[in-house]
Amino acid sequence: MSVSVGAPTGRSSQPAGAGTDRGGSGPSRGEPSGSGPGGDEPSTASAPAASTEPHPPEPRPLYLDDGSGRPVFAVLHGARGERSGCAVLLCPPFGWEDMCCYRIRREWAERLAGEGHTTLRIDLPGSGDSAGAPGDPEQLRAWTQAVDAAVRWLDALDRPGGVAAVGIGLGGLVACRAALLGAPIDRLALWSTPARGAVQLRELRAFSRLERARVPAPADADAGTPDAGTPAHAGDDGGLAVNGYVLSAETVAALDQLDLARLNAVRAPRRALVLERDGLKSDGRLAAILEAAGAEVTIEDGPGWSAMMVEPQDAQPPTAVFDAVSRWLHARESRAPAGAPSRPTMAAPRAAEAMTFEHAGVRLRERPVFIDTPAARLFGVLCEPLGGRRELTGLLLNAGPQRRTGPNRMWVEIARRWASRGVSTLRLDAAGIGDSDGDPSVLARVTEFYRPTYVDQTLAALDALGDMGLPQRFVVGGLCSGAYWSAHAALADERVSALVMLNPRTLVFDEWRHARRRLRQLRERALQAATWRKLLRGEIKLARHLETGRTVFERAAGAPARLRARLAQRGGGTAAGEPLRDPKGARHGGSVTRRRHAAAAPRSVPELLDALTERGTRALLLFTGAEVLHRELDAVGALDDPGRWPQLELVLPDSEVETHTLSPPWLQRRVHALVDRLLDGELERLR
């Protein structure tokens, strides 16, 4: 395994006159490197020693700072092969849609780079891995400045081809605003973008209302942490919570007032592509505005929007739109340009390998981290305090297929809050998710999430953090499969002293257990006449059910071997015949690093909790709403005696409404408070 941090030297991609920060300057310049209670320097000081890579991997993460104080997280995909004209900036949609199509934008950027376009992806301020929070003032202005800064940086990097911006949904609205206000965008492609912010808001409002009606806030919804940044009743203050993602009241008002037709346009792209959305007509005013400003406008179909805006593991790349944009980028202009495109007079923004910012009065630094594992090169973002550091390190794992920012961007909020309390925290993408390498298509099968490789990747991340000089006492957490990976990493590695398990769908997985669950569902469906009608019409995916059947068959065929293995375990060995190590001996003696256990895998959730209790692991196990694992455990009374696990905080649902990804703001606040309480308890143990 190797670890690389940031982008040390030798890159040709730095625009002239825009010096890359190499010594903690620029966005991370001038930061004091104070000592914490433990007397340690911040780990960034020693990070280069952990790097074994002379150059950062591609795609290359970076932070853009135009001096506005809100550095923008970006990922650069260098053009491969012969350069074919312009560079491309991909501008994301908002919130849930941003989460759904993040990996697809990565794929799109790779494709464009392969076609010879240097391509940059950004997270808008207050979203993703960029600085800021949804409640920051003047968000619309910050978004527009971010697009402008990214375009100017690309323009300086990739002269003379010019820059094309591709905006999706709200990202298109922002890109168009930036273009008309002077950003040097030569070509502009807009997909499902209206000409007025009010039209975009109407969709978001409707989405918000429907979700809020589905999960009404309880009477005591105001309970929670004050700094979580999410209003308990989003909407009451004029803001919006859209399936977990927040727009402040001020941002809502600014979008409501935004009308591209009313902008005092100082510049226009030479060419524009307006893409419709799954057969729905585009906003006719948008094409008219761009034409009036002087752009040559093309309107095309834009199929594939709906198929892209679903949970990331099911999201389908809109290949027809990829094709349409590529054709348009390569097409010759039908009329000669009026002259060379005007170039910006402002200096390009700085690009840096890390960003520093203030959170809760504490200076923090965030930087990308790559971890090479046998499965894939993993990507994560490490948030560290620049001042006092505690002897504890956090690791946050994906919520199912959702990228490292976590559900509703909660992992970003948690990481920054924990870092402000002195706990450096890495939010990590597992293989195939977010910006980590690996095949995302395998995750369409839910059983894939529970392969041992993901626990191995988690353990590799712990080792990498240790190798970087960070404290080797960990609090690890995740939601859904991330909770499962966390729990099994804690069982395997004694350095994990605290554990966050949010809405796990299972904690002890085997194919048989999963197949039985699927069979139950199928049995219920089989009683419905509609299922048989669908089957006869060929509308049921038999392959998935045959997989269930195969698992059941294989399970039955393998029963004798499992019996032998269990007998071997009772005899004091593991299923593989290895001797068990004494957990206490491993914790209190031996090497500081990699205290791994070859313990027998627990066969039930109570057994797993017993093992964690014996280990002294502090844990939070939370179920909200209708969670299948909670229903199963409740049915057999498995959690009836929580006193059996004194270091476990068990939080059970008071509702049957599905809230798996914690989208209601009031629920987010509660979870923030719970995970902070776990952290506080762990920090107390360190005293």
């Binding site: 409707a206 209302r209 429907l210 799954d278 729905l280 929007w305 509609a530 009608r533």
Partner: protein, 105 residues
């Protein structure tokens, strides 16, 4: 409240809105195209709960936009609720209400 309708009487003639059946068929087709339902829309009764059948909130926004696009109407804010989009019947009722409001205006 904003209600925008184009030539409702013309729509009635050309699309047979005076008869509910074509409207229900059109709604079903839109649900097939945009509702992302895990089950066959044709197997659902007119009053079947679409959310129970697996339609997500985000998909119902796509359905809303497609209905507006197809029927040339705009759902006013007070109609952007779960109850309006919870069944084929409730969608049809909302479209009828929009039609009658437009006819009065």
């Amino acid at each position: 409240m904003t209600v925008s309708m184009l030539s409702v009487s013309g729509l009635e003639k050309s699309q047979g809105w005076s008869d509910d059946e074509p409207m229900l068929d059109e709604i079903r087709q839109i649900l097939k195209d945009h509702g992302r339902l895990p089950i066959d829309v044709d197997t659902l009764a007119d009053d079947a709960d679409l959310y129970q059948a697996g339609m997500a909130s985000h998909a119902s926004i796509e359905v809303m936009l497609a209905l507006e696009n197809r029927f040339d109407v705009e759902f006013p804010d007070h109609m952007l609720t779960r109850s309006v989009f919870e069944s084929i019947s409730s969608i049809a009722a909302a479209l009828r209400e929009l039609r009658s409001q437009a006819a009065l205006s």
